[in-house]
């Protein structure tokens, strides 16, 4: 019997949209603006999640004076109880925890992104970076999976509760968390809009169109790209923190290639190079996920013999292919290159019939 709770559904879908939006805005900056093919999105998201896994289980108890906190060991229950008490009685402590988590995640992931962008310079072909990042993400995952203490290896770490969890009213706490996700996504969106439309963003976009020029220009460009990677990775990690808080559980099995692909699909669906497109893509994926799940439930209940859960993936693949074929620029195509970018590209290729 289908009986949809519209309010709760809207809250969950919008929360998911906010989290996805952070990821897609990040990738759009990296690939859409700077042309860096980041197929390691799951890696940067996971950095945020792992940081949340660590800080949310250790920070407050340590600050409160617990001598050693080992979340995978016997003192875990004690630490978590202490944390919960602090959060419930002193809301400020919860926010400090959240703020610190976001900052640490952003810095750590940004640093990795900055370093990675320099790897490009060493690669023979640009698309190799895609492969290095794809594979690098999996390697990190395997290493974290084997690391005993960080997030309790393959067991994962639970009770990474979202920051408003301790309010008595569940609905209120989930609304607040949704607002937090949307607010952070909005900030990221406004910031990346400003960045994209700055002369600097336009230059990068212009250069993205012409690879030979980019190579010729050397250092200045690689620094600019590295900066975009830093910002993009930081935003992805913030998305990762929220992703972890939303589930309340951090486990390496969530940060697999599929997550990266989902983010790519968001950007491609929305429109590469267009921040509004990234938002639209995130919204579509968040909605599509829910709609297909609901459709599967409805079909199942109506006694349909088809295994819709397989069909769901086949349909997803077909929709993606149709988009790539018939709307290759996405639903909201990037506006034509601005004059400045065009001029830059022209000026840099004097007399050359590209």
């Amino acid at each position: 019997m289908i009986n949809i709770d519209l309010g709760a559904t809207a809250i969950s879908v919008l929360t998911l949209f906010g989290i996805y939006a952070l990821m897609s805005i990040s990738l759009n900056l990296e690939y859409g603006v700077a042309g860096v093919p980041n197929f390691g999105q799951a890696l940067f998201v996971s950095i945020g999640a792992y940081v949340a896994g660590v800080t949310y289980t250790r920070l407050l108890p340590l600050l409160a004076g617990m001598e050693s906190v080992h979340p995978c060991g016997p003192t875990m229950g004690q630490a978590l109880q202490l944390r919960s008490e602090i959060m419930a009685t002193q809301p400020v402590a919860g926010f400090i925890n959240l703020a610190l988590t976001l900052v640490i995640a952003a810095i750590l992931s940004g640093a990795v992104g900055f370093a990675v962008s320099y790897v490009t310079l060493r690669l023979k072909e640009e698309w190799f970076l895609a492969l290095v990042l794809l594979v690098g993400g999996e390697t990190v995952r395997i290493v974290v999976r084997g690391a005993d203490d960080l997030i309790c290896s393959h067991n994962g770490i639970s009770s990474v509760a979202q920051p408003f969890y301790f309010l008595d009213d569940v609905q209120m706490s989930s609304i607040l968390f949704m607002l937090l996700a949307l607010a952070l996504a909005l900030i990221a969106y406004l910031y990346s809009q400003r960045l994209t439309h700055s002369p600097y963003g336009r230059m990068l976009k212009g250069l993205r169109e012409n690879e030979e020029v980019t190579r010729g220009l050397g250092k200045g460009i690689s620094l600019a790209r590295a900066q975009i990677m830093l910002i993009g990775s930081a935003i992805a990690a913030i998305g990762g923190v929220l992703f972890a808080l939303n589930t309340g559980f951090v486990n390496t099995n969530d940060y697999v290639v599929t997550l990266t692909l989902d983010v790519w699909v968001m950007v491609v669906l929305g429109g590469i190079g267009n921040n509004r497109g990234a938002l639209l893509g995130a919204a579509l994926i968040a909605i599509m996920d829910r709609v297909t799940q609901v459709a599967a439930i409805a079909l199942n209940m109506s006694g349909s013999p088809i295994e819709f859960n397989y069909v769901r993936f086949i349909a997803f693949g077909i929709i993606l292919l149709l988009m790539l074929r018939y709307r290759p620029a996405g639903l909201l195509p990037e506006s034509r290159l601005t004059t400045i970018a065009h001029e830059t590209a022209k000026r840099l290729t004097p007399g050359k019939t590209i």
Binding site: G248, A283, I287, Q293, A296, Y310
Partner: protein, 400 residues
């Protein structure tokens, strides 16, 4: 503009789906049982099979309710966890927000159970998990009940006892490198050595492995290194187990030692290849499995399952069947209300006897009765047959 687009499309979709829901008759009250399981991914076939077990339980229950003139009926809503923790959370959210389900049977693995935990706890939804046995989810006071399948602390002890009884001085363990495999391995080693056993060499294999020749070579070499009186214990999922036996059946060492294996290895597919079956017979392969502990209801369940789905139930399918029955009985008593179900479920469960054993829950909401069957391959190599039982609560083995 985007926001508008989002909210409008959301609304449209919801409204159109709402239409489908208004067909329920007024005098009949329907309770929805959620089924969040991995239908895709490498455990997809398990998920499908479990779902069938639950559907069987629901259809039987509805028939009984109708016959008794009750106005309550059960319906199911399944969603795919995609075999990830976050996917499990999303599946649970969807089920709860789409159907108002207060109780779900599933998810499958401990990862997924923990992924769904926060949403369940916050929203008062009761998770009745049938096969998760990892210690990480043994948490008192939460909304997770792991009925039927006891934590691996018991079965690992059984395996250790058998190994010691067989006179193994040393053991080699091959285990899947996930919470289940690692947990089983660690507890097995502790129990084996506490009982006077010697050294144990363990090898983990990556969960996605489809080919285990490297692992088989390592196991064989380690066994050779231990010399006589060493035994082998495989904690493997069916696909990997097939791949392993395929290589091991011609290995000069592995074909001369005695084997034990976890429950997932005792699927009928394992015996489809006569060479594999013979290998397991020669190796004196035994398993300690909850599913073998049958009650008079077990054969009835098997027959009903075949009648409904025209295929044999899988190795764990009756756990799902029992878990679904416990969930439904509790809902009949407590109503369609998460909080009431949560408080009442241990009581109902403690008074339930199904196709496996009684489901008596401990303080963590986990199955506390550990009554296993010990099984081996029948002499003709076509089936697994029960040769004894293990009582985990008294730590005693009885052979037939």
């Amino acid at each position: 503009m985007i926001k508008k687009l989002v909210s409008i499309s959301l609304l449209l979709v919801m409204l159109s789906l709402l239409g489908a829901g208004i067909q329920a008759q007024d005098d009949i009250e329907t309770y929805v049982l959620g089924i969040p399981l991995p239908f895709t991914g490498s455990f997809g076939s398990f998920g499908q099979d479990f779902e069938r077990g639950i559907l069987l339980a629901v259809s039987q229950m509805n028939a009984e309710l109708e016959a008794a003139g009750s106005n309550i009926r059960f319906d199911t809503a399944s969603a795919d966890t995609e075999q990830t923790p976050e996917g499990a959370a999303r599946a649970l959210q969807t089920i709860a927000q789409t159907t108002g389900a207060q109780v779900v049977v599933g998810p499958l693995t401990t990862d997924e159970v923990l992924g769904a935990k926060q949403f369940a706890d916050e929203n008062g939804i009761v998770i009745v998990a049938m096969a998760s046995s990892g210690p990480a989810a043994s948490i008192p006071g939460d909304n997770i009940y792991r009925v039927i399948y006891p934590p691996d602390t018991f079965s690992s002890k059984a395996f250790a006892t058998i190994a010691l009884e067989r006179g193994h001085e040393n053991m080699v363990v091959l285990h899947v490198d996930d919470p289940f495999g690692n947990g089983m391995n660690e507890q097995f080693i502790a129990n084996f050595q506490a009982g006077g056993g010697g050294e144990v060499a363990s090898f983990g294999y990556a969960p996605q492995s489809t080919e285990l020749s490297t692992e088989a070579a390592a196991v064989s070499a380690a066994l050779a290194g231990f010399g006589d009186n060493a035994g082998f214990f495989c904690v493997c999922f069916p696909g990997a187990a097939q791949a392993f036996v395929q290589v091991a059946q011609v290995d000069p060492i592995l074909t001369t030692v005695q084997w034990m294996g976890n429950e997932a290895m005792t699927t009928l597919e394992m015996l489809e290849d006569p060479g594999h079956a013979q290998t397991l017979i020669n190796a004196n392969f035994v398993t300690v499995s909850q599913s073998a502990a049958s009650t008079p209801l077990t054969p009835i369940f098997n027959a009903d399952f075949v009648a409904m789905f025209d295929k044999e139930p899988g190795i764990f399918t009756n756990y799902a069947f029992d878990a679904a029955n416990i969930a439904m009985l509790t809902m009949l008593a407590a109503g369609n209300d998460g909080a009431a179900v949560k408080s009442m479920l241990p009581f109902i469960s403690n008074h339930y006897i199904g196709t496996t054993v009684q489901a008596y829950l401990d303080d963590n909401g986990d199955q506390a009765i550990a009554s296993y069957g010990i099984r081996k391959v029948s002499d003709d190599g076509t089936a697994f047959e029960v040769i004894g039982s293990y009582n985990g609560n008294t730590d005693t083995i009885t052979y037939n």
